[in-house]
Symmetry: C2
């Protein structure tokens, strides 16, 4: 069965790690957020794509949840000496990924082509595509003005309130070639348990993507990134509240009801099934905490059932 | 006393290391070959400039003679995985230098400006300038065709015969802003003990540089890179013969006599003084093997005497 998954970073990577264990990876297309992408030292960095590739390659650092395992950090000391910014940590091996990406983009490859090359180099069997090959950058408004997503997420450790989120370039972006066909042809479309406002929304902001999901609504399943009112990792819970939503599975249901028929929630939220269903979504309760590959696979099985 | 030094890589770096010990570094301008420069992984690499900066910063790897001491090589394994060429080794900390150089060139800085920034970041007191900010690339002809200098020097370990050397871009290159004033105003112009054919010749090939030296001939001192018929390091001896010159201090004198009044030779070549003088150069005999900073300083003193 063919599957398309709308993805942010860590949560999506863990779900994909399960899905490739329960279906033929060749039938799986991960459609990945690029709003987090940034330029650092002149290099093009695609954090969500890399988190997914490294996770599926079993090369992710399991403690940090980003970057490569057994990484070294020696280039950083030289960046510091040369007066380059050092608030965004880049490991030595990881740096090669960004160098190769930048090199290939520089000679005219699309981000889709580069991503396909990176995934193939790691021997991945599934397809990983950026939602768009065009520039799309998430900008957030905080107390002292607008900053890039990485300045918020890494620079400020997502510890400051956000009053607005904007996806620069989204309105003029075109879905990457594989995106709309993957959604149209999938037996099941999955919205990964990623931050709805800064991981999934920029994917939906690319013209045509939201419409494609609405078209397939009955086959779209979302997994709630909110468990018992909290995000497992990252600022999704605070951000939902800061931007006028409810930090709960019901708040998530209100966001996703127009495009997804089903919401998968954690057992901690079993008491909210009726409230989710009142928002117009079918509600499935299961264990959604993907603390190891086996639990990722169990969740994958439920999502595809 | 102000000094200008025409430089290649290791030999020049060692002489400079001595000169900064015997004169005010602020009075010293190193004019550096860029014919060895190359693009690797989309990064601009300037091997001679970096060898000089790292040596003067006491950060060079003393065994290899290039790159940083205590270096790690982890990015290379990732380049290999991603299918990028791996025959040109780049250390992890060194990589940051190339990234910063490429970033700054990319936003419109000149190579002179970037080099000034790098030298200042390492706290160097002397001025290090590329001979030109324009593209100038050394290409050598070997049995199977033309290859770049680095393909010859690193890729083939300079173990193949060279039948021709060409400096692409030289005829349209302009000396970098500091180059001609440094030569015109120097009390002494020094030609470092670098390969005459692929380190010094590309410097002289930039229109105006050779003429500027001829103008100052009586104040120009060259140090022979050939000692007892051999190069201390690298292919200078073989290359001289392959290209129809003599691999001896006399061969060096024939090349430099039009632009330099004096040739400094090693004690091993004391017997060749008359032959050098027969080529029209004054000949000074001293210990030219710069195996430590003190011996570099001694040679520096002789060169400036």
């Amino acid at each position: 069965m063919t599957i398309a998954v709308l993805c942010g970073g860590v949560g999506a990577a863990r779900l994909l790690r399960g899905l490739v264990r329960v279906v033929d990876p060749a039938a799986l297309t991960a459609i990945v957020n690029v709003g987090d992408d940034t330029e650092m030292h002149g290099l093009h960095i695609s954090p969500d794509i890399d988190t997914i590739i490294y996770t599926l390659a079993d090369a992710i650092d399991p403690d940090r949840g980003w970057g490569l395992v057994d990484e070294t950090w020696n280039a950083m000391s030289q960046f510091e000496r040369l007066g380059n910014p050092t608030w965004f940590n880049l490991g030595d091996r990881d740096l090669a990924t960004h160098i190769v990406r930048t090199e290939r983009l520089g000679v005219g490859d699309t981000l889709s082509q580069v991503t396909e090359h990176l995934a193939a180099s790691w021997g991945l069997g599934c397809r990983i595509v950026p939602v768009t090959d065009d520039p799309l950058r998430t900008t957030v408004t905080v107390a002292d003005g607008e900053i890039s997503f990485q300045e918020y997420f890494v620079g400020r450790r997502h510890a400051v309130p956000v009053t607005n989120v904007r996806f620069d370039g989204a309105e003029h972006a075109t879905p990457a070639p594989d995106v709309l066909p993957a959604i149209a042809n999938a037996r099941r479309v999955v919205i990964a348990p990623s931050n709805p406002l800064v991981s999934i929304d920029p994917v939906l902001a690319v013209p045509g993507v939201r419409e494609a999901l609405i078209e397939r609504r009955s086959d779209v399943v979302a997994v709630s990134p909110i468990i018992g009112g909290k995000a497992l990792k990252g600022p999704a819970d605070r951000m939902l509240e800061e931007l006028g939503h409810e930090a709960s599975v019901v708040g998530v249901a209100r966001l996703y009801a127009p495009l997804a028929a089903t919401l998968v929630v954690d057992e901690a939220d079993a008491g909210s099934v009726a409230a989710v269903e009142a928002e117009g979504m079918r509600c499935i309760v299961t264990d959604t905490i993907m603390s190891n590959p086996e639990r990722s696979a169990s969740l994958g099985t439920v999502v595809l059932a």
